[in-house]
């Protein structure tokens, strides 16, 4: 086919690199999802909207209040943490003893609330975030990588590395992992399980908010950018809901796949490809590549 004939190797490399850039952001958001799922066993459908809130709050600080970048990023992350904490206390905590399906549906309601709030404050029209990443593009061998893509990849990688270290060594991280393994046992050795729940939501909101700033600086922000969460969903299901490794591997893979499909067939095929992958994984290996296979008992 002649559509494929003039496709050069370097073009594919550039597309792949751009895909890995998006993939890193998906992985980062996926990690936020996994933190919540590991600690509280809540499937958070509103992760894309939490990301959107982060992007818009950053917009509010950096463009609206015209704060410098070094001040608006921490301010955004603090607001995100507060939002995460409020969501956990008011909506998730009261239902933790109920069945998981109700909590899941609460997060669906949360999606609607967050979209509504953002549209109420900033209106539905798309906006651009102020430029804050260096403009100089990166040339890897012969391949051209836009600077924003490269920097999002780097920042995501650093944040994920920090998170993994924190979970491995810090007391709070160990408490979180203990709660994830066995809630009752963790509680009986004196871990403040309710505190871990709150903390995990706040941390996830911060990570998602950071991802939102990066996603927004690459592609602009709008009240529909929560759709990014759909791809993140595919990432965490493919990787396994409770596996950070899974989120990383699947994030890079899905980002790469979307970029390649978009380059070869056109942008409208992106979601089709990812969701076909999702359906296949759900049917063949529902607990994902790296997830724990839970056995159900009566």
């Amino acid at each position: 086919m002649d559509k494929w004939a003039n496709l050069e190797f370097i073009d594919l490399v550039e597309t792949s690199l751009a895909g890995f850039g998006t993939g890193a952001l998906m992985a980062l958001t996926g990690v936020a999802f996994v933190i919540i799922y590991k600690a509280t066993k809540v499937i958070n459908l509103a992760i894309g909207e939490m990301l959107m809130v982060g992007a818009f709050v950053f917009y509010g600080f950096s463009a609206g209040l015209a704060l410098p970048i070094w001040a608006s990023i921490p301010a955004t992350l603090i607001v995100c943490a507060l939002v995460g904490g409020i969501i956990e206390r008011t909506m998730i905590r009261p239902l933790m003893k109920d069945n998981p399906v109700s909590v899941f549906m609460v997060t669906i309601g949360l999606t609607s609330i967050l979209i509504g709030l953002v549209e109420l404050i900033w209106s539905a029209e798309p906006r651009r975030l102020p430029e804050f990443l260096p403009q100089q593009p990166l040339i890897l061998w012969d391949a051209f990588v836009p600077s924003k893509t490269a920097y999002s990849f780097l920042i995501s990688a650093v944040v994920v590395a920090v998170l993994i270290t924190v979970f491995a060594f810090w007391r709070g991280g160990i408490a979180l992992r203990a709660t994830a393994t066995d809630r009752a046992a963790a509680s009986s050795v004196g871990i403040n399980v309710a505190g871990v729940f709150s903390f995990s939501w706040m941390l996830a909101a911060v990570v998602a908010g950071l991802a939102g700033i990066l996603v927004g600086s690459v592609g602009g922000i709008s009240s529909a950018m929560g759709l990014f969460g759909l791809s993140v969903f595919v990432v965490v299901i493919v990787g396994g809901l409770d596996s950070i490794t899974g989120a990383l591997v699947a994030g890079l893979f899905v980002g790469w796949l979307e970029a390649m499909v978009g380059r070869l067939f056109g942008g409208e095929f992106k979601l089709l490809a990812t969701f076909s992958i999702l359906l296949i994984v759900l049917v063949v290996r529902p607990y994902g590549l790296f997830g724990t296979h839970e056995i159900e008992r009566l």
Binding site: M91, P94, V101, T111, L120, F233, L272, L278, L282, L298
Partner: protein, 347 residues
Amino acid sequence: MRIGTAKQSYAADEAMFKTDTQRAWFAALMVGLVVYPLVGSGYWMFLAVLVMINVISTTGLNILTGFTGQVSLGHAAFMAVGAYTVAFFDGRFDTPVLLNLVLAGAVASGIGFFVGLPSLRIKGLYLAIATLAASVILGFVFLNWTPVTGGLRGLNVPTATFLGIELATPERLYWLVMPICVIMVAAARNLFRTRIGRAFIAIRDRDISAEIIGIPLFKYKLLSFAISSFYAGVAGGLWAYLFRVVTPESFPALASIFFLAAVIVGGAGTIIGGIFGAIFMTLIPEFLKLAAAGVVPWFPDAPIYLAPIRNIVFGVLIVGFLIFEPMGLAEIWRRVRRCFALWPFRT
């Protein structure tokens, strides 16, 4: 339970209407539905038709989510399938209205069957995500299968013609939608007096136990998907006749949340809950519109904020009902009724 209604047979206990009072109220409701067009007009008729379409669709989702316990995030996509089917057959082949509606239900039901297939391996939240995936893929098909769906521009739907009468206005369409709505809701109510319906409820309550007592899970889950999509398809078909145009934008992902919200707010797992939920959720935007028009003298910008406020209200309703009244409006209704039924005793 009403005082003084001792039931003496199993059949009486399983009857659709258990007391004469219920029968009387139901008769009053039917009379009200017949008399309504004499009273209401114009916009109120349009609203009534829209409410009934949503009642059909919500009842369908209630069968799947409320009674069988399978959360579906793709209900609006099945409605879209029904709407496109009607638009396609009526536009191309000029087939009769009732046949189109049955076809709409059948096509939606067939696709629902396929969407239900992953339930062989997965359940609960994973299945909900599979339905989300299916609705995204269906949305892609609507947008890109241009010869059949008209692509981005969508399809125009001819006026519904029933026995030579053009059902061009909501006033006339009412007489098509109302009987279908009553029949389908009654059918749903009866479904849960049969073996199939009770199997659905058993699956919802504890799927493993249900399987152990001999209910083939996969078969009944698929059946539930098919029935639920049939309702959505018929509702979508009627929707197409009401709005007369179907585009990929007609049934956005948010519409699926709308129906899920209707089921939750009304009361999952009760037929009357589906009806309440659909009425309530359809009328809320109208109420907000009225309120916005009312405050315009003080806040001239109010109409701009209508759409976001509607989103917030939908979300708050879902969350609020799940936390404070998980059984929904139906439970509130039951409490009010019990208060009267037990009078003069107190509960």
